[in-house]
Symmetry: D2
Subunit: 426 residues, 4 copies
């Protein structure tokens, strides 16, 4: 970081404290509409109870910073190191993931006290940190905050899933008015072959999985100007897409049959019309919006049906990394993807829906995971998952980067996931 | 009921109102120590969330009485007929049992309002009932109250299971002091062969599965004076009981291996001593108490190991039906079995632990289930279950009868279940 | 056996040898139509490969007689004690049941050599047995032969199941001609209440589960003159029986849904007509025959639909024990139930189909299992099963007795199982 | 193929006939040691019965060539199109894979007749083919033969698995003598960064997944001179490798725990020594041989433990594509990997063990699957699998190519799979 003018220790500490409290409070803003009961439930093992997210993100700061760098810190509750460790097996024995929704204690109140306690201690540590300490913990706090932002998105996606199985279709927040009735026609952008660079440079924060920046040879290709819409996806459905094995990966069609997929997650047909459950309740499907809550398998099948393919992560990043980082993110308060040309003039590159790529989630050449337990953060998941790009309507806007590599298994649908088409050019 | 002097309509109505409110309030007393979060969880499909019990018992009164017999009653929430129907498939489509713990809504507050609403309407119906109406609904209300008492017991057993998987071993109620350090030596009582009668006479309330009273031929037999104790069961364990297939039913030993049984449910060994989780937290096992939370398989294996057998339900009822209906029931506030000769002088026939019999749960000769949907109450479960007798420390004292037939599958352990030995006499 | 004139040792030995070889050869007759490949397969864990039956019945004689009572006997292959032990866990570690169809070795030829070897050794042992030895082994050989007969029936039922999943519908034996187009009208026989005796007297062979003969009080009842027919069962089906939960036990209706039952096992509808797979290939359903391959759940549901019930085992035995032991058994070579009044004049009490009773399979009062490992033969299965009476078209005729207690789980359908109605009489 | 001098039609036809019969006969050579019973079994869904392999490879020729290009061909048995279609869902409804071992019919004899019938018809078709027809079917026959060779390898790996669960450890072929007691020390070869080409050129046969040849940028790297040996892998095991989650992918360690992995597949410890089941029976582990029957998860964990990584498929192909295509293949008759410097002087690049790469199995840029149903051959499996290179001791020698891409799921171990280390160079 030689070309950044060094802040004084105090300035750096103040900036960090401010960012810390800002992000922590956004978490609490997100859970404001919840009843105490909502904090407890876990409808499937993939999702976690809101209470658990609140505590786990706090545990992250306690375990990786306060327990290591504060000589005076007293652990809040020693049981929490078992209950709120997610998957760091090298430093403990995490409570079984699929049972997180079976714990009524600690209560929401106790978890909120835990949050305050850790926040106060961390603020205190920062307040009195000298340069040497600050140099050590700055990047850990930054990591903890990026981590908290990931869980802000998960809070939203997990609550949505939890609510979706309740026959009362609970409303998380009332729908804001918007006039997103249309979307622009699809255009194709063409890119030349060549040796390009992708991945994150050392400057500024990135996860270890985004590094190092490295060369990739790409062939000529074309990329769609926007993601596939609900209306376009309905054409696939009406053409028998879910019943036509020739469009599907073998494991994809097996998932269709085992899980009885007939449409994207949350969709149901009522009196001949498609509706979906949203965080504002059950609504009629808007054909102009990007299709959302589809698995990689569905995205891939649509692309074959359309005679196209999904982009690689290199193609996506090469083509779109210079676009403005604006879009429909969590802060907009919609918590739902939008059609493109509404009055807010969102550009359709970032936000709205995470876009599946055809790239398996593998380490970049020369990649080095973080040292110690934090090396478990990303590296051990580099198998059987696919990379997604661009962020969604549930992603905090300051969390996304062009080089960001999100990743999920190809059959998962509860994230805000959509896709954009690509194609070869001879 | 010809030999009972007929009460006036008003007296009968008042008595019923009083009994109704008394039992309903006892339910609420039982959930007083719970946090809101405790009301939501369901650790295994066998148990239900406390919230669900509160609503389901209320739904029973709404569905079978108010909806049928009150011309002015307005349904509280039409969705509740789906959510809180347990298993009455002839009148609806019950919400899936294993997902009861995934519903955060309705909230506890809404469920409590539901209870009040139905109570007020039912009290009002009773208040204005004429003789004709009273004749129709009296037995239904009685059934609804007996049903609510069954769920009072389930509330306790289900909370216990839910709490037991929490590493913090929550305390439901602090342990009351008691001096139950010893139990009397086992005595054998002998009974002669003959034609006896068991089952409920038409007088007073009984479930349809207790009727009709009927003749049974029994051979000479002997019956133990008290249930098997923890100390006696530990001898079985220390003699390798859980590792000796020769004592077990084939399905029993399969359960031992699949579920890794090494001791009764809730037991764990710490530093060479046996502890168990109780509703007062983790405590050292008291050897003088009746062994509890054992399956039929374990009871049966112990009996074979001891060279004895379990009694039939006829033997149990024939021998013990004249004993006083006193014992350690839910009202005692212990919620845990006691050794026999403590200062409260409980007799060891009723209360403490339900006693497994060797009798499969089958209909009595000439048995007729209730008409309509209420015929589903008992009859459709008469397969693959065993009869238990006597009530437990979680049974309301006014709920038990000598003819009472409780029933569970042979591998179930989360009820307060123990057993007493019997034997043949040549 | 004091009232039986004692045979000389030689006569007894000769008679036993003759019976032994007769029964052993019938086993081989039954597998004559099989290809070598047919001997290997096991389509579900419930069934065993024919090869396994041939070896296991042989192992029974080797293990319980030759290894214990012949000083010169040399074990054929020590591995067989592991491979062909079915479930006698007190004397060994049986090879996993569900993997029996994964063993290509020993080959059929080796198994046949094993049979010959054990037969020769057993004949030799009998040939030279003195009275003391004969007294010891006579009842064991008798047990071994009854055991072999049970496996003759299982050979047929298991082959039928194995073949049934082969799309080529293999023919085991060509259908014999028969003119069984009609069945007699159903009549009801009434029986008075009283103290009756059921169970086997000590005279002659019986399994330990049939003893002792004992008193049972039965109420007045009525019993159908013949089992329910295919035609009658089709009426139940056409009245929506499989879709009407009110007729079903709770676990029964769960089985209907989980296993997608729409008709008895082996039935399929082709162009609007019902066909079933038989050991003579696919044939059109004959409405006059007793319905077969139904579970207890289906029998019980039919009975409720018909406003009747199944008989208890006491009622069945009391009513039918004096009927002649004739019927359509395995020796007839049909291997399929027949309608009643065909030219062979079968009486409709024994043979054709095993009849489900409503009696759970429990020990008789005072029952004592055989000593040692043979006590595992019956006793450890006395849980979650129901008693069936009367034998089937796959039962060897010399194997059936009025007191015979067959038993299967209530969801099993691959045996030749049907049922007869009973009813209460006020 | 313009630069290849065109053979006359007759020469081409003769060459094809000769190659066809040569490869078909090798299949039959491989099953010569089997008993009829061995042909039937399928120990896990991953493997197929030998009988099925014999029929399926034949079906491939019948379905894709004779049925389409012979006007006189009469289908052998119309049921076979259902039974022996593996996974081509666009042209039919394949018989369920996991039930292949439940079919005793058609018999081995019938399958052999099927083979002869199709062979005769295909030879006849070739014999009379004119140039136009030959041009159409030549590449299909070539594909069918490559396909048959893949199944030759599967025959061996599947028989090995089937036999391995038989407690008698059957010997497929007696072990040939060899003196492979040592292996050379590991050397590291270094390669420079640069733009390289991998994939198959259009000349000669290749599967569609090997095409097109394309550019890849690779960074500097080093590659081991030989695969990891049993001795080296034992060091990992003895260092607690299977109990140290820090070396494992998250899904890998889950597999370790769920499947109780303690060593490579087929290994068992007897009296303190490691043995493995081989196609020559149970033998002591030879430490000098390449470790075999390890999953990707185990290969990856070993590499992390060793501070290295697995190579990418590009690195492997770039480094080793010029090595001589010699090695220990199926024709050697060993059916087991060898240590390097035995008297036969095998080079350690091809043969012995398939080598896991870290490259997920994805389509090459610009890849086009074959048209029609044959497009299902490879493309639909491009998800959740990893690429393996180099062939094994069960691969026919004429089947392997430097560009060959084998692929399996990361938890699979029943193929002859090992691995070679790679590393980054700064």
């Amino acid at each position: 970081m030689t070309n950044v003018p060094t802040s004084t220790v105090r300035e750096r500490s103040n900036a960090l404290q401010s960012e810390f409290m800002h992000i922590r409070k956004f978490t609490e803003y997100l859970v404001e509409p919840l009843t105490i009961e909502d904090f407890v439930i876990q409808a499937i093992p993939d999702v976690s109870p809101p209470k658990w997210h609140l505590a786990h993100t706090t545990w992250f700061f306690e375990r990786f910073i306060l327990m290591s760098y504060s000589s005076t810190y007293k652990e809040f509750n020693s049981l929490f190191d078992h209950l709120f460790n997610s998957y760091y097996v090298t430093i403990g024995n995490p409570f079984p993931r699929h049972q997180r929704g079976l714990l009524s204690r600690p209560t929401v109140k106790e978890v909120m006290e835990y949050r305050c306690y850790v926040e106060e201690n961390l603020m205190d540590l920062l307040e009195h940190a000298d340069e040497e300490l600050l140099n050590k913990i700055e990047s850990l706090i930054e990591l903890g905050l990026q981590h908290e932002q990931q869980h802000q998105e998960l809070l939203l996606t997990d609550m949505k899933y939890n609510f979706s199985i309740n026959p009362s279709s609970p409303v998380y927040r009332e729908k804001k008015e918007s006039k997103d009735e249309s979307c622009p026609p699809l255009k194709w952008h063409q890119f030349e072959e060549g040796l390009v660079e992708i991945g994150h440079e050392e400057k500024g924060f990135s996860f270890d999985n985004e590094r190092p920046r490295h060369k990739v040879w790409i062939e000529r290709y074309m990329l769609a100007s926007r993601p596939v819409t609900n209306g376009e996806f309905i054409e696939f459905m009406e053409d028998g897409g879910y019943h036509s094995p020739q469009y599907w990966l073998s494991e994809g069609f097996a998932a269709v049959k085992e899980q009885n997929w007939e449409a994207p997650l949350y969709w149901k047909k009522i009196d001949g019309k498609w509706y979906y459950y949203t965080l504002s309740g059950l609504r009629e499907v808007n054909k102009a919006e990007p299709v959302c809550h589809v698995s990689y398998f569905e995205a891939d099948a649509y692309a074959r049906w359309a005679g196209k393919r999904l982009p690689t992560e290199s193609e996506w990043e090469h083509a779109l990394s210079l676009r403005e980082l604006k879009g429909n993110f969590a802060e907009s308060g919609f918590f739902h993807p939008h059609a493109q040309y509404d009055e807010r003039k969102f550009k359709k590159t970032y936000g709205d829906v995470w876009e599946w790529t055809m790239s398996p989630y593998s380490p970049y050449p020369g990649n080095k995971p973080l040292a110690g337990a934090l090396g478990e953060y990303n590296a051990k998941f580099m198998c059987n998952q696919l990379v997604l790009k661009g962020g969604s309507c549930a992603t905090p806007s300051s969390h996304i980067r062009p080089t960001y590599r999100n990743f999920f298994h190809p059959d998962k649908r509860w994230q805000f996931t959509g896709f954009r088409l690509a194609g070869d050019v001879k």
